[in-house]
Amino acid sequence: MRGRFSFSITMPAIALVVGAASAVFITGLSAQAPALKTSLTTSWGEPDLQGIWTDESDTPLQRSPKFANQETFTDAQRAELDRERSALMRRDKRVERGTELDVAGAYNAVFTSQKRTGARTSLIIDPPNGRVPPMTPEAQKLAAADRDYRLALLQSTDTCKNKSVACAGGKYDSTPSPRRSEPPPRYNTVRINRHDGPEDGALPDRCLTLGLPEFGAATGSFRRIVQTPGGIAIFYDVGQGQGWQRNIIMDGRPHLPASVRQWYGDSRGRWEGDTLVIDVTNFSPKTDYQGARENLHLVERWRRTGPDSLEYTVTIEDPTVWTRPWTAKQDFTRQSDQDNRLYNEPRCIEGNYGHPGLLRGARMEELAFAEGRGPHPATKDNATDFVGVEDDPLQ
């Protein structure tokens, strides 16, 4: 929420990259390393993955049932999708004026720039159907408990009264749920319709944007890789002014003890031929990737495929959440240094007006209700954003 402000500072610098800028970068590079081949290998002989990288196109994580039998789009489909998406997606589209949803949807395409539709119909390459494998019964139960709690917090709002898709699975009840005074079934990571304290905020609203695996989401992401003999640093710029880093341990030592948990896990890398393979474990129980928390295990493979291209595949495993491991692939394009000069400035927290604003707003609603000036706070929806306003035809 807050991130939007720093987003407006950071993104212009990094959003305008692509063609011309890359050319400038390559020119600069060739001054140091004239032969194209040497630019793919560091001066100490390792594959050179260095630079600022991003995915320049939009590819959904999962394949839409509409494209069930195709791994790639036809050119005509891509052109049509680009046309539909640029015409529709968050272009100042309004829902009914004066409704809560209209206020919540106050961000337009300026804030959520979209990229061209990618060549593939899903990032997921395994299973072959391009879909996240089924969840285990245990994980389904946990997800259902989370959903029930979220719906209970919404049950007295117009969102449920009007049968918005955000209330799917729930029903309207004018009596506020007693669950409003219960803590969530497990550590909260998403936006819920309760703002009793800071930890009721979604992780991105708290400047604690989710970590790995990192596919870019709505606002894109950038990663700078710097290498040294026997060492690799990756700095991520994600989620509107947030950022974090990984320093890949390359000397073969074992993972951190199980008692040490981190937001971005613990990365152990090795070279397999020209591919950097990173094993990531030790995630914090406060993280959540599609239901996976402390048992998440990633195996990433990074491979330079050309002067401006880097292939990234990640196998995602958590036997407590999915019935089988699955793999996604993303293609990154090298970006201009010159046009990304605000890199490394994850200053989200310093200007986070949205998060305390949600808390303060909730206190004011409670005060107004107590003084007979306003409705019961449980009837207000301060959680639902764009849900149901527009559907991305790519998803």
Binding site: Q32, G231, R347
Partner: protein, 322 residues
């Protein structure tokens, strides 16, 4: 593990002393892949790669100071400046809350050449340390402060970039050894452009904002701050770090700080996260809770009562109270 590490360190030292060329022995491991080692040089220049940390009191106060009972004190029983006692916020920490003494890191006469009005602001900052120090809010630490906070940082040295990853607040900076112009906005961490003067790494840092502090003593600067940092590898495990500080809005002349930075030589050392914005949430937003959470602490020897207040100048409070 320790022995192997010692051998590899020795090797690095020998390599540095002899050819300055790359590689030799290595830390061995079982996966059968190519051995990993840290060469003495990268691209023919001294290799600063590794995890480093200052081991001094500069983050408390850049200037020479005697040890004092606490970061926040109040007048004691005797009316002397040197007889103050810990104030309530830190009293419960006892001696662990005391500030260690230091000979300071400011070079020359040890004075920071403030303009009169800037000196007054420094004193005011110090008086309001808890309310004003960006460190307590987990804001980005700025440069040079990030270099001597009590948290490790990691240097990853390549040929055209040297990346600094700081444990504190996920902060980072990339030193551009190639030409990259400054950003179109001011920043906490500055814009770092490096060059080699022989074996010395010299970094010009510009494009700062006026919000970072130098230390917990309230030393401050404006957005006109310009730094020239000099990094010299004195031995494989010690960097001599020297910074010239210039800010005509705040100081009457350039001044310098200098200190050693030490390698974190533990064989299993790695940079762990210190994602402190989570830790600072109660501090920053506790007054916005529906029910106060941190209210009172009772130990065997004392009880601490906490009353949350709306911070003066709280923009949201004012906005909602219109």
């Amino acid at each position: 593990m320790r022995d192997r590490f010692a051998i590899s360190m020795l090797t690095v030292a020998i390599a540095a002393a002899s050819v300055g060329a790359v590689i030799s022995a290595s830390i061995t491991h079982t996966s059968g892949q190519a051995p990993i080692t840290r060469p003495a040089t990268v691209g023919g220049k001294p290799n600063f790669t590794g995890i480093w940390q200052a081991n001094n009191e500069a983050n408390w106060d850049l200037q020479a100071h005697a040890a004092r009972p606490a970061a926040v004190t109040q007048e004691g029983a005797y009316p002397y400046e040197y007889a103050r006692v810990p104030a309530a916020p830190v009293l419960a920490l006892g001696a662990a809350g005391a500030v260690p003494g230091s000979l300071g890191v400011v070079q020359g006469d040890g004075e920071i050449p403030y303009k009169p009005e800037a000196l007054a602001k420094k004193k005011e900052n110090a008086d309001h340390w808890i309310d004003r120090d960006p460190e307590l809010k987990c804001y980005l630490p700025g440069i040079p402060r990030a270099m001597y906070m009590p948290h490790p940082f990691q240097i990853t040295q390549s040929t055209n970039k040297i990346h600094f990853a700081y444990s504190f607040s996920n902060s980072a900076r990339t030193i551009h050894m190639d030409k990259v112009e400054g950003p179109p906005d001011d920043t906490w961490m500055g814009h770092s452009v490096g060059r080699w003067e022989g074996d010395m790494l010299v970094v010009d840092v510009t494009h700062f904002n006026d919000r970072a502090w130098f230390d917990r003593a309230g030393n401050h600067h404006s957005d006109a701050l310009k730094l020239v940092e000099r990094f010299t590898l004195k031995s494989p495990d010690v960097i001599w770090y020297d910074v010239t500080i210039e800010d005509p809005n705040v100081f009457t002349r350039p001044w310098r700080i200098a200190m050693p930075l030490y390698r974190r030589a533990e064989p299993n050392m790695q940079l762990l996260e210190f994602r402190c914005n989570e830790f600072a949430e109660e501090f920053m937003y506790g007054h916005l809770r529906k029910q106060p959470l941190v209210k009172r602490w009772e130990g065997e020897t004392m009880t601490i009562d906490v009353t949350r207040k709306i911070p003066p100048g709280d923009a949201f409070y004012q906005w909602y109270s219109r």
